[in-house]
């Protein structure tokens, strides 16, 4: 597998070299990673990348990234050949040796890294790059079957036995196996809400697995949920804030992937995810305290309605977002505390879970 990636990188570089020898302008064609270059098919269940390309060549706008892309490919080749790894941050620091072609900030180097990934149509781990981000946390009725890094012996991790703590999802999850008798997975936006549910052992009461995403879920977290849900045939319920970010970024990315990572959405999506709450209707039904929507929120709603293929596919979502637009307010998960700190455990979640068919798609 690794050799194939290596051959691919060399092949792309040789194409560039051959063009130069023929005195023709060399170029690299990279898949366009954006919402405008994906389509959504409910049967497929994720944002599938289309054929639009962006070109990097000897022009003012693209020459710098052209050189940087080649440099990044060179770094990847070196990592694969030497069986080494570099974090995204480390790759950024390596570029500091590239003089004019160095990256000014890490987002620049991350973008070029994702471009190489998309060009080769592989996962960045296969290129030798690893992220630094934490994958998310697990508590509840789940036994993760891992291997000891040294002895390679099977290692069973019981996620009920972390007390007030939790199991951390590793960066790579492909080798994990699962044992569980839980009924569903509950993916939660904030660490605070996760802590409350862990503290009161909600997973025992509801017979479920709790996952803290900590904002937009990382690739590892998405992949973990996907594998677990596929493997154990479990429904996935998502519990986030009632705002354009919770719906449009966190839930949408978990379920169908993102425009930015369009080339790998196939592996990093959870099509079985359903939206438990908080919905705009919940704000009315549970009389939740709210905050006014800001200018950026209205812009995000408009953008979702106009440009997001996922929202455009699902009428109920358009309705919900328009409702939010009209209410002009947002509500956080924690707003449920208005009715008592544990109202969420005693009333809200049990109420909601009685009718999973009413969850938004």
């Amino acid at each position: 597998m690794k050799n194939k990636v290596l051959e691919g990188i060399k092949e792309k570089a040789n194409n560039v070299y051959r063009k130069i020898l023929k005195k023709k302008a060399p170029e690299l064609d990279l898949p366009l990673r954006s919402l405008s270059n994906v389509k959504y098919d409910e049967k497929e269940g994720y944002f599938e990348i289309l054929g639009k390309k962006k070109e990097r060549t000897l022009t003012v706008g693209t020459i710098k990234t052209f050189a940087q892309t080649l440099r990044m490919m060179g770094l990847s080749k070196q990592l694969i050949e030497q069986d080494d790894i570099a974090t995204k941050r480390e790759a950024y620091y390596v570029s500091k040796n590239w003089k004019e072609a160095m990256f000014k900030a890490q987002p620049e180097s991350d973008t070029v890294m994702d471009d190489v990934e998309a060009m080769m149509m592989v996962n960045r781990e296969q290129l030798g790059f690893i992220p630094e981000e934490k994958g998310g946390e697990i508590a509840g009725k789940l036994i993760v079957v891992d291997r000891d890094p040294e002895t390679k012996k099977e290692l069973k991790i019981d996620c009920t036995k972390f007390g007030s703590g939790a199991y951390s999802i590793p960066i790579s999850v492909e080798h994990l196996k699962f044992e569980t008798n839980a009924k569903f997975i509950l993916a939660i936006e904030t660490a605070g809400m996760f802590q409350r549910l862990v503290k009161h052992k909600y997973w025992k009461k509801a017979n479920c697995i709790l996952i803290s995403m900590g904002g937009v879920p990382t690739r590892a977290c998405r992949r973990f949920i996907r594998r677990l849900a596929d493997d154990q045939k479990l429904p996935v319920y998502v519990f986030v804030d009632d705002d354009p970010y919770g719906i449009g970024s966190i839930y949408r990315t978990l379920k169908v992937g993102s425009g930015n990572a369009a080339h790998i959405n196939k592996y990093f999506c959870v099509p079985q995810a359903r939206f438990l709450g908080v919905t705009p209707q919940d704000v009315i039904d549970y009389k939740l305290p709210t905050h006014p929507l800001k200018e950026v929120d209205f812009k995000k709603i408009k953008d979702l309605l106009k440009n997001d293929p996922f929202i455009q596919h699902h009428k109920p979502w358009q309705k919900a977002l328009k409702q939010m637009q009209q209410m002009k307010v947002r509500a956080e998960q924690q707003a449920l505390c208005r009715w008592g700190l544990n109202y969420v455990i005693t009333k809200y979640l049990p109420d909601k879970l009685k009718h999973p068919e009413k969850f938004l798609p």
Binding site: I9, K10, A13, N14, V16, Y17, I20, L21, K23, K24, A25, P26, L58, T59, V60, I63, K64, F66, A67, L70, R71, M73, G74, K77, Q78, W98, K99, E100, A101
Partner: protein
Amino acid sequence: MQDLLYGSKFFKLSQSRGQQGIGVSASVLYAQLTTGKPAKITSKISPKHPAHYYELRIDTKRNRAEEVKDAIVDWNTNHGTKIELEIEGDYLKGSQSVDQYIKQIVIVNPHVKLIYVNPKSEQMLFVRATNKMPPRPVEIKPHPHGVELGILIQMLKLTDTRTLQAFLTQEFSRVGSGTAKQICENAALLPNTKPKSINREIAEKLLHGISQTKIISPPTNCISPIGEELLEKGLRKEINAEFYCATTRPPAVYRGNPFVIEAGIAYGGEQNAEDSVRVLRYANRVPLLYQQGACAITKSVINTVWRNYGLSQSRGALPVGPATIVISINSVWVPFTSESKEAIAHYPEIIKEIKLALQEVGRKLSIYIHKKRKIQIEGAKRSYIETYIPHVAEALKDLVGYKQTDEVKVKKLLKQILEKTRGKLEKIEIENPDYDEELAKIGKKENKEEQKQTTLEEATKNKK
């Protein structure tokens, strides 16, 4: 000879010199007042005749010229006139100086050879840039639309004609019998009225009648403009710039007087980009050095939108940029704001023509500036792209695994490809063989010396 001491505009209408603001009569008078010495004039009309030598004074009581001396002398020249005046004055440098005046004279009179010796006994020789004499302006009769009431009354008194119709057709240009009848009708006067019998009130009626009548524009061969080519040549001599152009407008008319506006511009080169543009004003080839702010020429420069042509400009101010603008008005009767003849009066027709001339040169200037900017931007883009060529070559070396020599080759090839895809970089060649460094120096303040002085002063201050 005494004719010299009268104004020249009462008896003929044609463009001529003599509008410098200080005419020969004033010069003689000024010399007499400051040094008490007479004007010395030597004149010879042909090799066959002897030369005359006069000494001339002005009798200030009777306001008449007085010949103090009249003698026949030997003068070893074919023909010519020599005038000597001794005047007291300060010898200054700068924009309003004799030096500057003479220099500007040279710019618009390329057919003149001038030798100038300043009070420091430094001799300067201005060689003529062309042997072509400007065509001699033709004398014309006044145009009815240009005549003022007082002059009309004077003309009516002096005419030999017997009827009003004959007076109109013979004393004015562009008036035939048909037009004359039309004027009489509009003025409600009979064509056979005797001119000498017309009094002031009736003259006023006649003038009103003239203003009501459509009359063809006056002939324009009475004007002798400098010409685009020679104007540009003059600019090239004085200013070491990158771009020159000049234009001559077709003749136009204000109040019955034909006039021609010419404009030129010299851009870039050694001129300061942070200063306001320099404006050189001329009336019938005579430089106007004073009262710049009150002049219709300055107003027209300010009212032209120079930002469209690539110069920066704040509202109500002269444009800023490395440029010199020349405007010349040529007319049989240049309207000045005052008797000192320092600024052109604000006639809408004149301002409009000046603006049109400026727009014409402005358009040519903007084409040049945009081209220059485009080339500069293209050059910057290329050098930006070229910065990354070594990085592409080095990265490919890691990826493809070629040798050091191949890396050099790839760099060379990439540069060739860049040249091929973007085309050859255009270059603007600047050469100006006409530029005359000596001329350009004349009249300029010696900045370096001033600076030295101030630094010396500062140094002594610091010591104290």
